[in-house]
């Protein structure tokens, strides 16, 4: 793969549901080792965009290039094996499986297909990284919400992805947890991953994202360096409604 190509390049991505254009000609890029924020008010199409990129939905039009390779329309499991991992807006961790089993499921079906004792060892490593080492045998359904989010992240990391899609992973955290979460995301990026994160939490966006893409009603209203985008009048108007004063 061409190592100067961005990790993710999306061109003209569109998807409608019946008469509603949920995503309308979306263009965005995530460079290698970059953290890009995907912002916008509720209903702007961010999660649909995530679903299109992760393979949960098929686009009506447009191109998705991952690591230089066109992948639009491929089913999610193939994208997972190629190196795209994600978290979900409402955390999804199979409740009957233990934390260890949850992470092992991330290891077992990925590109390297690790199983058995090796999988168990690695899984413990991933759990330790997110701070869940002591809860390995606890069923996921018994964890607190925050711990379930951490577990979901550990499982995503177990896939050894090149691109991580985070859907409001830092939402609902108290200040301490938020700082820990931000540090963890930064550490993950430093270890070589590229990240596209849907986020509402401004502190997190300013701390982590080098660039931002802002959506409203399905299409992009602003794109660029974080500070500029967040001060953009259209962006403020989209969030606050109507003319806004900076």
């Amino acid at each position: 793969m061409n190592s100067s190509a961005p990790m993710l390049r999306v061109r003209g991505l569109s998807r409608s549901f019946g008469g509603l254009r949920a995503v309308d000609r979306l263009d965005l890029e995530v460079g290698r080792g970059e953290i890009v924020g995907l912002l916008g008010p509720n209903g702007s199409g961010k999660t649909t965009a995530m679903n299109l990129i992760s393979g949960a939905l098929v686009p009506d039009a447009g191109v998705v290039e991952f690591d230089g390779e066109p992948v639009q329309g491929l089913p999610a499991f193939k994208l997972a094996r190629k190196g795209i991992a994600r978290s979900f807006q409402l955390v999804r961790v199979p409740c009957e499986l233990s934390c260890l089993e949850n992470v092992i499921s991330g290891l077992a079906f990925g590109p390297r297909g690790i199983w058995g004792e090796a999988a168990r060892t690695r899984a413990r490593g991933h759990l330790a990284r997110v701070g869940l080492a002591d809860k390995a045998d606890v069923p996921a359904g018994e964890l607190t919400y925050i711990d379930q989010k951490r577990l979901e992240l550990a499982r995503a990391l177990a896939l050894q992805p090149k691109l991580l899609l985070l859907d409001e992973w830092l939402a609902g955290l108290n200040p301490t947890e938020l700082q820990e979460g931000i540090a963890l995301v930064r550490e993950i990026r430093d270890s070589g991953l590229s990240i596209l994160m849907v986020e509402h939490v401004m502190d997190a966006i300013r701390a982590l994202c080098t660039r931002c893409v802002v959506m409203s009603a399905g299409w992009v209203i602003a794109q660029g360096q974080t500070a500029e985008v967040l001060a953009h009048p259209d962006v403020l108007a989209a969030y606050l409604g109507g003319a806004a004063h900076a």
Binding site: S54, R81, I104, L159
Partner: protein
Amino acid sequence: MKLPQKKSLLLVWGMLAAAALLPVLSSNDYYLGLGINLSQYVLMATAWAVFSGPTRYVSLASVAFYGIGAYAVAVVGDALPLPVVFLIAVAAGSLLALLVGLATLRLSGTYFVIFTFGLAELVRQLFTWYEVNITKTVGRYIFLEVTPRQIYWELLALLALLFALSWWIQRSRLGLALRVIGEDEMVARHIGIDVTRSKLVLFVVSSAFITLTGAIMAPRWTYIDPAISFNAVISFQVVIMALLGGAGSLFGPVAGAIPLSLLFEFLSARFPNHFSILLGAAFMVIVYFVPNGVAAALSAWWRRRGKAAA
């Protein structure tokens, strides 16, 4: 689905070994016949649940496979040695399962149910058409030298194999995939699981065992024709038994198949004309009052007792 412990498997194998002693201990043909009937239904109910339990795709086509197995024996049984005949039967059943699975398993369970609903009828009509127009014989005789004892032991051996295979699958990667699929298919897809392929493998395995059951039972029929071997009542009974015992656990269907086989034996002998009505009524009762099956209901009860004691 809860992982069965190794000791459960060994216990069940022990019980099968004990059951195998029946023809040695008693020369009463009636009991042997009963044992054969029970075994075939335990086999089919368990095989049915192997697929329909974890995936929650309801297959109404069990008799399509059973009939193909029986017909394979009827058609080539006198020309080839029995093991080869069984292989042919399994191949035919697996092929059909593959076709059905490829067409429907990537879609929601609804399509699968509808497809399997009429499948036995379709296979029956195709066999009838073939026999009427091509081979010009409707109905075949099976004159194979297979004793009831042999059939009984073959069934028990197949059952032991099924339990072992199913136990092994649950502990394998496929088993983990199925558990994730069963809880959250969206997650399964995003961690690299080929959901359709997992379901397909399971469906082919399940159908192969049902086909082989039909093949093993064939010599007992002596005469079969499409109407006899593709009798929808069999599909129906298999589903009820698995649901009553609990399709979510490996040994659940056994708990459903044994009492129901006995009940249905009794009912079809006492009320031959009203059997269908009683069967349907029994089914509705089970669906209403035991939604997850006896085994799950029992384990829920057990868990509650455990919690109360703790």
